[in-house]
């Protein structure tokens, strides 16, 4: 892959300043969802926002204020949330339904499969507070299986944007594309690595950094960690990484994954999710079938989360920059 393909991002422009928090803006990805939703609702009055008693934390609040006639509150009833939305969709509405990822789609999975996906309805799930980075609420509230649950369902589009700007774009993109979709985002502030000028297309992975030694394929807020790790590896060990922002888990950008594997000959996947059946597993399926190369997986290793500080938990569960660097070195040795 030629370096000309590298996207202009805050990441590529300011690599040197990377760890200087002062130059990297931090915004929760859920804020991008809130902004995108208001815009989607203004563009198309069939867009509805439906919430299950979490209007502030899912960032539906701005929509509720701006477009009250398009907002519906249904209380703590996530199965109702999905099935009712499927009904609304079948009469022409475009419902965005929001709760914590643990409960929607966690609790509502069969309703998602049958009423939303098998029915081919135009319902969009917003899964907030995904990952262990939810922090002190603990394991019951840390969805780290949701990508697996969603990517296994036919018809489903699954998007895990890398920052707040991209979450806004993804929200608008799923609103405009017909069909069931799952958008995943996080609670905590995270680095903004794209700019308003960075393009976004569902199903089109993005190269955020180019290098020939190891391809790091990441999604969600950990894309930032992957970029920092790549930067440090280049400086400390002279290891050159390609970093792919693999935001669409389904349909995954197979050509981009294969191209990165061909360029580097070894791959590390990075996600805030169980390593089983998540984004990395999908990458492995693609590579095992078409171009087998060694793969290392960064993610939660078949454990539950727990209470703690978000950063502490990311480190503890092996998703910090040190763990990514270690995985890259291992992948390189296995080449």
């Amino acid at each position: 892959m030629a370096s000309a393909d590298v996207l202009e991002t805050v990441a590529s422009m300011r690599l040197a300043e990377y760890r200087d928090a002062a130059v990297v803006k931090e915004v929760p990805t859920r804020n991008g969802f809130g902004e995108g939703l208001v815009e989607a609702g203004k563009r198309n009055r069939n867009v509805l926002a439906i919430c299950a008693d979490l209007v502030e934390s899912t960032r539906m609040e701005a929509f509720k204020k701006a477009l009250p006639a398009q907002y519906i509150e249904i209380g703590v009833a996530e199965q109702m949330l999905v099935a009712m939305a499927a009904g609304l969709a079948s009469v022409g509405k475009i419902p965005f339904i929001a709760s914590y990822a643990m409960f929607n789609p966690g609790r509502s999975w069969e309703q998602v499969r049958t009423t939303m996906a098998l029915n081919e309805t135009n319902v969009k799930i917003a899964g907030a507070h995904a990952g262990v980075s939810v922090g002190p609420d603990g394991a019951t509230h840390q969805a780290i299986e949701d990508i697996a649950l969603m990517r296994v369902i036919p018809q489903m589009t699954v998007v895990v944007p890398c920052d707040a700007i991209q979450t806004k774009r993804a929200t608008l993109a799923v609103a405009e594309r017909f069909g069931p979709a799952y958008l995943r985002f996080a609670r905590e502030k995270s680095a903004v690595v794209t700019t308003e000028a960075t393009p976004f297309q569902i199903g089109k992975a993005q190269i955020f950094r180019d290098g020939g030694d190891v391809a790091v394929v990441a999604c969600g807020i950990l894309v930032y960690n992957a970029l920092v790790a790549a930067d440090e590896l280049a400086k400390e060990d002279g290891i050159a990484c390609t970093v792919v922002n693999n935001h669409t888990i389904k349909p995954m950008d197979e050509p981009a994954i294969l191209a990165a594997a061909r360029r580097c000959g070894t791959v590390v996947t990075v996600e805030e999710h169980q390593i089983h059946a998540g984004m990395g597993s999908r990458v492995a399926e693609i590579l095992a079938q078409h171009y087998p190369v060694p793969i290392e997986f960064v993610g939660v290793r078949d454990r539950f989360g727990q209470s703690g500080d978000p950063v502490e938990l990311i480190e503890h569960y092996g998703m910090g920059t040190a763990a990514i660097k270690e995985a890259v070195r291992t992948a390189l040795k296995r080449k």
């Binding site: 008693d53 509150e73 703590v76 009833a77 109702m80 609420d137 019951t140 727990q306 703690g308």
Partner: protein
């Protein structure tokens, strides 16, 4: 039933007050967590651990203990605090709430702290498990009882109604459900978000015996549980009317305290108010 002696009642009321102080200290130390519901259920939990339950803090795995389930796991601080004051673990451990490595997880976990009986936090799942336990006790002809504490908003979850129906079918008179009827949830009043009334009639029509009481009055709660225990052939519900944030003036009745902790200053003020109240209780004029 024997009504509580004045000394016993004073002790329970003091216990409820201390449980509130424990909640405030734990939440302030954690820097996150749920204040309103935790504080409003302090009287109920003090009554459970101090008077109602058949339990032994030194033997949380005692087979014949009563089972107390907290279905609305977000108010874990009230349970942890009541357990600490009942002798399950040192009161100072409350300060580890929500911190890395603690047994006192943000939402209770049975594997880390077996005495909580079950893991909860995701709403609406407690009664169904309580039905399973009560049915198990019946199958084995056991004497112990099952109590399930629920929040009002979790009555919006479908599974809770499946459990209500099942408890009615099996005539589980060894099962008592307590509802924290504080009329608040995250997005506002329960009656605005998704109306629950007439809640008592709903339980009645599911073949439950219904009791209502002031959930912030220890004596009334203990008395109503005695009546519930005497019911035969039906599960019982106690709709406990509570004031969210009870005991801390600036939180009382304000739904925005559902999911936030007091900061240091607010905690100091809360502890001042509570300690003054404790002194009144002990002096016999509280």
């Amino acid at each position: 039933m024997e009504s509580l002696s004045p000394a016993r009642l004073t002790a329970l009321r003091e216990r409820a007050n201390l449980v509130r102080q424990g909640i405030v200290r734990a939440l302030a130390s954690a820097g996150s967590g749920h204040s309103a519901g935790s504080l409003d259920m302090a009287d109920v939990f003090a009554a459970f651990y101090g008077e109602i339950l058949r339990h032994d803090p030194t033997r949380p795995d005692w087979e014949d203990r009563d089972r107390l389930l907290l279905s609305c796991g977000h108010i874990a601080p009230v349970r942890y605090s009541a357990m600490a004051y009942a002798g399950y673990f040192p009161v100072e451990e409350l300060l580890t709430l929500r911190k890395f490595g603690t047994r006192l997880q943000g939402h209770p976990e049975r594997v880390r702290l077996p005495a909580v009986e079950t893991t909860s936090g995701p709403l609406g799942e407690g009664l169904a498990q309580g039905v399973g336990m009560a049915l198990g006790a019946k199958l084995d002809e056991k004497e112990w009882r099952v109590y399930v504490v629920t929040s009002d908003a979790e009555h919006q979850c479908g599974l809770h109604w499946e459990a209500m129906m099942t408890a009615g079918k099996f005539e589980l008179d060894n099962l008592t459900c307590v509802v924290d009827r504080n009329f608040i949830q995250i997005d506002g009043s329960t009656e605005d978000v998704m109306p629950l009334e007439p809640l008592a009639n709903k339980y009645r029509s599911f073949n439950w015996e219904v009791f209502e009481c002031n959930g912030n009055d220890v004596a009334e709660f203990v008395a109503v549980i005695e009546k519930a225990k005497a019911v035969r052939g039906k599960p019982q519900v106690v709709i406990a009317h509570t004031v969210p944030g009870k005991g801390v003036s600036y939180m009382e009745g304000d739904y925005t305290w559902h999911g936030k902790p007091p900061n240091r200053e607010q905690a100091d003020e809360a502890l001042r108010q509570l300690e003054a109240e404790r002194e009144r209780i002990v002096a016999g004029n509280g």
